[in-house]
Symmetry: C2
Subunit: 238 residues, 2 copies
DNA sequence: AGAGAAAATTCATTCGGATGAATCTGACAT
DNA sequence: ATGTCAGATTCATCCGAATGAATTTTCTCT
């Protein structure tokens, strides 16, 4: 009985949310109140709340309170024709993305390999943050060969779309060549950027886009909030 | 200085592992010793260790101690020709899988939809656990239409390979039709089955396999230990 | 009213301490 | 050698308490 006490309250709250007894946006009782009601220590309450936050079921905000998450999980389709905006918009989600920084740097090893560049080649690194309904869902870095796409980040920022930007460089089509996904704990700065609880893991999605003839044109590494996204893949065509 | 004290020891240990000062299999000092050495409370030490365990960098074992993880992350390639064994073996990993249970049940809603069955149709549910070098990495349920594949689980267990089993049913080829991936916290029983720390999240991979002409033949839902796996996808052919 | 300061709320982090559970070690008897 | 059991070690869980930080609410003064 003494063991795994905190799972009781976690499961109770989880049930309340699923069944609708607690609905999206509702504020939960304070930690102290929950501790009293369930007759357990506040630390066990915190443990339970942390577990729920990791699943994205609730959102814990310091100084304000704890709330039932109101944003459902986004579905992001990965395939040959992976297009961030087009894939998220159909879900009735307002997707925006913002340029955080742009720089010209010597390509890191992985980028050199991914883009088939010579060691020491320069690339442009643009860092963007993606929001769905004003809530950050992903933050990522994209690398382009600096010689071929000298001002990619700036143009992308003006044109507002990756597809358009490629077109302005004379590339009318591009396809996803390779994708890799893994999960890890969020670094504290990532958690801050994504406005998520420090214990929510992130999904790291590394990808290579290429022209239809197979020439790689971009290498990206996007950090997704694991609680807010769901990836799908169709293997027929893409 | 008082804030986020525990991240200091987390980062220190993480560095020690990455740099090789601590190597695979090494036992870490006990919680108490670490607390003394870093001049912080044991609870902060635990918090740091939990964070490292979530990333799969260390493995915490009650009554034994805490050890640097010795199993590297597996890479599992998802594509049109997704075959568990063939995709993992090239990495020098001894992959085995074991039937945990087999049953004949009324198809759950999602399965009905995935396999295009009539409501109330029966399916076989086989639960298998997959081990890589004797370490569990995944546990999953696979559903097959009971009419067409009445004894799938049993045959699969005898023949030792999914491909062979399908062949015995007259299916010489099959392809991955659809895959979806998301992350969530592990349920306590899943954590136990996968022999992982309760705080390590899992990746839920739902898939539909089909014959080349597009007829769905199986629906699976596999729970992967998020710390031990890494998914990749090639979008050219599969 | 309106602006700004003070107070109250609420979560964040940390510490110390206690008990339980799993595992290993070593003494002991067979 | 082998098996058993007591004790030590180590992590797991829990509680209570204090201080700090972020936010909201209330009050005060102009």
């Amino acid at each position: 009985m003494t063991r795994e006490n905190w799972t009781i309250i976690r499961d109770k709250l989880s049930d309340d949310i699923r069944s609708g007894r607690l609905s999206a946006g509702d504020q939960l009782p304070t930690e102290t109140q929950l501790a009293v009601r369930f007759e357990i220590g506040r630390h066990s309450v915190r443990r339970a709340l942390e577990a729920l936050a990791r699943d994205g079921k609730i959102s814990i905000e310091q100084g304000r309170g704890t709330f039932v998450a109101d944003a459902p999980r986004l579905t992001y389709q990965i395939g040959k024709r992976t297009r961030l905006r087009r894939n998220l918009i159909p879900q009735g989600v307002a997707v925006t993305s913002r340029l955080v920084s742009a720089a010209r740097v010597v390509a890191p090893d992985e980028v050199t390999k991914a883009l088939l560049l010579n060691p020491g080649a320069k690339v442009t690194e643009s860092q963007r943050i993606t929001l769905a309904n004003d809530l950050p869902v992903a933050v990522g870095r994209v690398y382009h060969c600096a010689e071929r796409f000298p001002d990619f980040a700036e143009r992308r920022d003006v044109l507002g779309s990756t597809t358009e930007t490629y077109r302005s460089f004379g590339i009318n089509d591009y396809v996803r060549q390779h994708t890799s996904i893994f999960s890890r704990a969020a670094k504290s700065e990532e958690a801050k950027t994504l406005k998520q609880h420090p214990d929510v893991p992130v999904l790291v999605v590394t990808a290579i886009d290429a022209t239809p003839d197979g020439t790689p044109i971009s290498n990206s590494r996007v950090i997704w909030s694991a609680a807010r996204v769901n990836f799908t893949m169709e293997h027929s065509d893409g």
